[in-house]
Symmetry: D2
Subunit: 462 residues, 4 copies
């Protein structure tokens, strides 16, 4: 057993941990990150946003080449899925290499140890590494152990791939299947569904609820769904029964309208949500733990004030960029002696869904407004009339905004359409900084850019 | 002679006029727009941003297809320039049609008359139409007569094309030249240069000054230039002598380092800036006119308070989106009885240069800060490290921010790189709403998106 | 019958009407205000804020002189209430004169007609003046007919004075009573109670509910009450039975704890709230009318879009300064052709209670936050530790702030103590402009001033 | 010699040090403050803002009592200056006691040692105490040694009192002189001049420059001067020659218009500005020192990054509340390992002059705007028309605002008149948060309060 002492220890080395860890190291603190993967970056880079967006980019370019005649070009296109995988893997490798370099530059203040961490007590953590055991004592601890795909305990779940199998380095799915059944209709399910659909795969989505994206606003979800390629089959109000191996792949059995049905796919993906990865010993410490994860307040402190939970593990806002900012909040508050000096602002974190078409939202949407008794003024701009969208031959989509009618302030917005994820930030910043409908309307957005519709929507109210 | 009476008359029907005209019509006012082209939309749609960005989009897709192997795709591509022109013309036609429809819906409050307007007095305008003469009396007048390419009085200028010849509907330049000489290195010159370079044309830029983009910040200009394809030849510190017809095209003669030189191009484009189109009779009214155009204050009023100058004609911020907002300011102030109720905010209007790579800036950059004695804090993020840029295989570029060190507020920024024009709005909104370096750093920008670098740059200062 | 045509007609000439009327006149519109009192200014100047605050100022100075030894001065003081009345009347007269002058300067665009207005139809109003009858046709109408004291239908209500009798020019109450019974415990009741208590009058407050200031936050109300001079008797949970004349004044009979009680006062004031003054014919027009008054949206438009309701008449925010801004919103929207261009922001209107001690609040307080499901972070600063309060020998009070814990933004605040009404504006502006707890903490408030506590309270959270 | 080790050492225990010291102690750091006076609080409490404002409060109440008939009261007033001194001393003692208590509560993390500190090297400070010598080693050091009255080397300067003699506990000036000559016309000079003038003293001000308040905006200074009681004699463009003792006091000789003049006063006050108190050894360390003091950047760091200069010592903004915030910035940056995490915002620090009448300003005023080439829009509201001012029988004054005409944002403002120091904060917050003229105009300030004029001034521009 090796004993070590650190100022700060992080459990995990993903976005919920490392940006804060770097800031702490910059302030001269000794920081140790423990990560089971042994590399800096969490799910996002390993099997989440980065590889999925790389695949999506290939699919997007494929789409554009296929319609390149609309731009006056003559092109033909084909692909070997393995080459796309190679491109994706290259992006991941490039970023891992970049992270390694950043980590090296932060030595010796900041170190990363591969291993599995479990709590001994409030200040001591046991680490089981490949070849050694450590006991690390730390003044403050950031739990950023993330989340993993939820596996439904159902017959045949072993036949199912998860997002990990599809997106990780050297993925299990290294060829293009002819057909695919996706269990679940959350954003990971739908991003995967629409992307493979773009690449020519026959996709069926099996969803328990009456609609897709149940954790998001209903109107938003239905609007987005209405713009999906209708060749994607979405089965709602279902109850999964089992998955069976089949001659050509797998057969998914489910109940719908009191009828048992089945659908066959060359592969089956299970995308039924994610669950927190709670470090061993957390419960014994008395940390407040719910189904969502290890609870923390706006200062990222758990109920034990020198222990923080940041990123997916607290289930508050399961996004890379949210985790990044959360880890910085934790770092700032650790520097301030665990007496908060910084707070997370959850009110304006953008949330993008990288489907075809792309969509994004931020802030309070109608369903939440209704629950909280907020009277809203609403306006929108149809991207069919947007110059940039027309130039892109991508004229489906809309920008929609919601204002608190008591204050006239922007409180929520969504964008569906090309560049949604690029311009949602502008709307989020408007919420962050308290913009009123006049502020939004008076801003002269760049022409031609999809962001023009932001001002145009607001101007309809003036 | 036909006599008409209107509440408001606009001279011009481009962005400096029509958004305001529509707002006035919506308020029940009788509005007449006079335009020599007889269609709604000014240079932007006729021969400016829209067609040039359409051509650029084709060139961009061409570029991406050529590098599509980097994304794991197998594609080949070719084009007939006439097909690209057809795509561009289609976009223009689509927007003209859309504008016609909007105009029809605004009838009878808002009408557009084709003709040339000249002032008779402060309230009366004479209009010479193709087939008739009108005298129109109006309570308020918006001059939005725009600007046109400046033609240098030099031997052989008749051989030169202007941006109009390249970008208008059914353009004069309807084939792809092998080589091109561009006179001037303003943004129109450079957008044209880099686009045709992408399409395989040999381009030479001849610039009088010691650097490109003389009206913009020097560091910005040099940084952008350093990212241009080096195959574009840029000749600085030159003095144009003449243009002569040549066997294979035209020969441009110029002096450089006291040496006479010449360069030959299949076509020559003159892009030496734009000059205001002053309506006849303006001077006689006593309107304040400078080399830049017809002066107006922040309420868009000229020195005659019921006459407004909006858009390119006042030379303050020669951009479509700026003109759009200016016309609304004018409209609001007309509604308020020519006693201002609205003011133009020039401090945060984004300005994009659609070259390859794309670039954009907003607010106060170092050169202006220096002149005004503003001490700045500076930070930047190199897009070589940006996930989205890496996914796009577009890793050249940067986001750079300038803060007033007295207040900590963001006062200026630039972005060079893919999506610059899409994310500059977020930085502009931050300036509009008074964001400090902490506000910028604390915002959790979407991952992966180029906008991430906005927060990352700010976080370096914290 | 005289016929007149106006662009805009206002029913009422108080704060809900005249600021807007002046703006409209400035824009060249012909505006007629109809007011039953025949003078510009509503309840505020006639019998509300202005005269009551003048009386309060006299009482405050009286208080300070009585404690002037604490400042090292030797003074004695007495008063004849009639002199205080004279001072109060002088302030009112000065302001009436000022308003007359302003009105004269606005002629002929703006005129005021004394009379009672009733609707004939959506555009026509009948005016019964002292000596003539008019029919006025107007394009747009602003209803700003205000509110009046609610008179409970109870035996002996004719013996009661209202705020009008106490505060109007040449008030009915022109001498200092020895004792006073006040029915109700709203802000008018309590301002009157604490002021006369300061002047030496024995005051009893009879309140139906279980607490004072039932329309305001409970914690705020109880905190304020705890700082009242304990010699003021406040009877809660009562039911009024009747008022009877008595040898020395009046006897108020009420039930409390199932027991009939009575209290005797030289005068009795009825202050049981205010009710809207609905112009005749309003209902017939189909205007949406509730117990609160004539409903209008954030653009101040009633359900008939060219008819506005502004000020006390809509019951939304019964304050002079709110009415002032509302009338401007209405004016702006009339100028914009009844297509809204401006909206009222109700989220940050300060609300002061000019009791002894003074108190003020703005925004969302805990009771409302709870109802709307807003999780708040709370902080406060005790004015006993405030330098300026100590200098003033006024060390009772507090500044309390409420932040939305999701966004970290200030959403509500109260101030109890000297200068509360002077500094509440700063807190309101912070809400208006979206200040976070960091913004509040980082502001360097003037030392020594009561506003220092604003930053100090916020700094406790950092 | 005693050796001690601290995390942080502060030289000085005034506002430039202690708020930061408390924050550091709250974070668990060991902090030692060294102060020559041996008590917490600098000049502000010892001989500055607090005692002078107490005296002013007595003078203000004296003024109000003398005019109490205007409020309908009958009062007479007299005073023994020693009693006023007693009141002033009491306020100071109360605050010292409060500070002692706060300090006790912060033990043992935070300690205060009475002594004189001098630098040994970058991390070591020698402290000469009354009875012992210490050497203290610290990781970070905050220099907050303040400033002291500048003493002009002139014949008879030993006869002059300084602000210290007038305002300190048990002041040298413990009786009311009949006459007073004040050398200098900065804010301390003028506050003293107008206060003693209120108390009946004959005051003459002798100023070298052509106007008063030379460090402030000229128009502001002249406007304020025009509202002074004309019985205060102000001699401008003078050159001091000497001070001589005289039978009835002192005779000040000076040259004016090439003529030698003299004026006699029972006492003479020298108020020619303040100079920094540079700790011994500072120069040897290589700290950047100018006439203004020890330079620091917006992070409060000197050129040696773990040494900070905060408060009067850096001469940037010599105000208690500015020093307070500066010390917090220093503390935050120390917590962050001397890598800045916080910056001082100097753009919106309010600056009040507690003369009769009171005045205050914030931000950029016309003289600075002119130098920096900022084009301003200006507006004002005359407090003669303000309801609250009329109620106070204080109708002299104005609120004046300056907007950047490029952005429409408020950049500066002044208030002259009763309550100036209470409402300037609202204007400062508007600058801090980037308010435009519309934001200012749209805010519904409390009626009746002097702050109403803030909105009213802005509304004139709309």
């Amino acid at each position: 057993m090796i004993y070590e002492k650190a100022d700060i220890l992080t459990i995990g080395a993903g976005a919920g941990a490392y940006p804060g860890a770097f800031r702490l190291a910059k302030a001269g603190k000794k920081v140790i990150m423990i990560d089971t993967k042994g590399v800096m970056s969490g799910n996002c880079l390993a099997e989440g946003c980065v590889p999925s967006k790389a695949l999506r980019q290939a699919a997007s370019l494929y789409k554009y080449i296929k319609k390149s005649h609309l731009f006056g070009l003559k092109a033909n296109v084909d692909f070997d899925y393995k080459s796309i995988i190679a491109y994706k893997d290259n992006v991941q490798k490039l970023r891992y290499k970049q992270h390694d370099q950043e980590l090296n530059e932060a030595l010796p203040n900041l170190r990363l140890i591969k291993g599995k961490a479990s709590f001994l007590d409030e200040h001591n953590v046991f680490v089981q590494s490949d070849d050694k055991e450590l006991k690390i004592t730390a003044d403050s601890i950031i739990i950023a152990s993330g989340a993993k795909p939820f596996i439904l305990p159902i017959e045949g779940n072993n036949y199912c791939m998860t997002s990990s199998d599809i997106y990780k380095l050297k993925p299990t799915l290294d060829y293009l299947p002819k057909s695919m059944v996706i269990l679940g209709a959350g954003y990971i399910a739908l991003e995967t569904a629409t992307m493979f659909n773009q690449l020519g795969v026959k996709v069926t989505v099996i969803q328990r609820s009456a609609r897709i994206l149940t954790e998001m606003d209903e109107r938003f979800a239905l609007k987005l769904q209405s713009m999906f390629n209708p060749s994607i089959k979405i089965e709602l109000n279902t109850k999964l029964i089992k998955i069976q191996k089949d001659s050509t792949g797998y057969s998914v059995f489910y109940e719908q309208n009191n009828t048992q049905k089945n659908v066959v796919g060359e592969i089956v993906m299970m995308a039924l949500g994610r669950e927190p990865v709670i470090p061993e010993g957390s419960k014994a410490l008395g940390l407040e733990i719910t189904k969502k994860g290890i609870m923390s307040n706006a200062a990222m402190q758990t109920n034990i004030k020198h222990i923080y939970s940041s990123g997916d593990i607290n289930g508050k806002s399961m996004l890379f960029h949210s985790a990044t900012r959360q880890s910085l909040v934790a770092a700032h508050n650790i520097l301030a002696g665990n007496v908060p000096i910084d707070y997370m602002d959850y009110s304006c974190v953008p949330n993008s869904i990288f489907t075809f078409p792309e969509a994004a939202f931020v802030g309070i949407l109608p369903s939440v407004a209704k629950i909280n008794g907020i009277d809203i003024m609403e306006t929108s701009f149809d991207l069919a009339y947007d110059a940039k969208s027309q130039i892109l031959n991508e004229d489906v989509g809309e920008i929609r905004q919601f204002y608190d009618s008591k204050s006239g302030k922007l409180i929520g917005a969504w964008v569906i359409g090309e560049e949604a994820s690029s311009i949602i930030g502008e709307l989020g910043v408007m919420i962050q900084l308290g913009a009123t409908v006049k502020d939004v309307a008076n801003y002269a957005n760049q022409h031609p850019s999809v962001a023009e519709g932001i001002s145009k929507a607001a101007r309809k109210l003036l």
